[in-house]
């Protein structure tokens, strides 16, 4: 009797430290760290010039659609032409540690480098701290194949007291072209959404008319849209949510842009 009681006690006490004994639903305990930086280090494997074809898969709004994200990852892994994968935000629905963990475990299975932009849902609760620890800075850039990719946090409502989106940072990044010939902007909310601070839309449009910018892609809208919006002369792409079983394949060759919507079951 005594031995069995002791055994049960030892088992129970050793369990108390495990993460299932959670103190709060918004615990900050990231499953991985600095994923954006780790992916940047993998870019050197893409040895391409501006005139070579660079293929990017764009997925977005995987919140509450993890089964679909898993299918999309499998589908993308079977396509050897894809060089990079971009997630246009809303990686989680409620910004919790567990949701970040589920998402990271799926997206990590991608064979090609992947980058995740910060979405409004990812900011909920302790989500901002989780994103910064799991992925890295909310605004970041990198260059590959003589192209500059700018990831911008555009979730103004989630940062009521901060300068979001940081248009000055964007302007500096667009001026600082280095050896890149074209730039592409990736954000979660686009200038057509009310989430995007309305007073900044005008400046944003003006910056994007810079011939250096090839395309601005975003998610948030849960539908597919492509074209010149508001007659601004700038091409915008709104990627459809993963819950609608599709992603976008973006083929860039020199100045030309080719876009196809890929459906999976």
């Amino acid at each position: 009797m005594k031995a069995s009681v002791r055994l049960i006690l030892v088992c129970l006490i050793s369990c108390l430290g495990c993460e299932q004994f959670s103190f709060h639903p918004y615990t900050v305990d990231p499953v991985d760290h600095d994923l954006t930086q780790k992916q940047t280090q993998r870019l050197s494997a893409i040895n391409k010039s501006f005139e070579d074809t660079l293929t990017i898969a764009l997925i977005t709004d995987s919140q509450l659609a993890l089964d679909e994200m898993q299918k999309a990852v499998d589908h993308i892994n079977q396509d050897p032409s894809i060089d990079l994968v971009f997630h246009c935000g809303d990686f989680t629905e409620y910004g919790t540690t567990r949701e970040y963990e589920w998402g990271v475990n799926i997206i990590k299975r991608l064979r090609k480098p992947y980058f995740v932009v910060f979405g409004n849902h990812d900011a909920l609760g302790t989500g901002k701290r989780l994103y910064k620890q799991t992925f890295g800075p909310l605004d970041f850039t990198f260059s590959v194949a003589e192209r500059k990719f700018i990831f911008l946090n555009t979730n103004s409502w989630e940062f009521p007291d901060e300068n979001v989106p940081d248009i000055d940072w964007l302007e500096r990044e667009l001026e600082n072209q280095e050896s890149s010939k074209k730039a592409m902007l990736i954000s979660h909310a686009g200038p057509i959404h009310s989430e995007f601070e309305p007073s900044k839309v005008g400046t944003f449009h003006r910056l994007l008319t810079n011939p250096f910018v090839q395309l601005s892609a975003f998610g948030h809208g849960h539908s597919y849209k492509y074209g010149e919006l508001y007659g601004s002369g700038v091409d915008y792409l709104q990627v459809d949510a993963l819950s609608n079983n599709n992603y976008v394949k973006l083929i860039l060759t020199g100045d030309s842009t080719h876009i196809t919507q890929v459906f999976f079951d």
């Binding site: 004994f21 993890l66 898993q70 302790t126």
Partner: protein, 201 residues
Amino acid sequence: MKFWWTTLFLTLPLYCIWGQEIPEKRGIWPHYARAQFAGNIGAISSGIGYATKKQRLQGELLVGYVPASTTDDHALGTITLKGRYTPWQLNTTNEKWSFYPIAIGLGVSQTIGSDDYFTIIQNRYPNGYYSLPTGFRTLMLFETRFERIWDRKNFHGVGAYLEMNIPDFYLINYIRSPEAIPFGDIFFFGCGIQWTFWTKK
């Protein structure tokens, strides 16, 4: 050190009631006090509760403390209301031990002490922009409990319990993505003690 001060504070209802003369006409005197470790409502939480005959239905109010290290920010508080139904009670023949194999219940928990969590969405958002508030959780509860009975005046017994809970937003996640999410990931545990002052016979 702060942690131990808070522990002392949260278990205060226990010390206060300890040794108190409960009046013959008990009125609103609580049936039991509880202190809990983990379970999504704080590192530790404590409070008082009421029960019907044979503790078949129980309801309690708990105050919890979330240390700063949990959310990597400042410390938080929680206020939790729990209700549960215990269909079976098994007693040993000498009536010294009672075992309650399963109880099912529901809890609602409010996080306090930080602007990072909202209960009523700020008015800059359109209706339904976020489906659930971050500051208010609904928890599905499952519990197993045993109790050592003394049945003295104002001291019925002391027991321990293990609680398993599912927060609302993880349940929604699992329903939407049952293949990608491991079933065990949506269950969380807490354990604690229940000090029973008196029961309705």
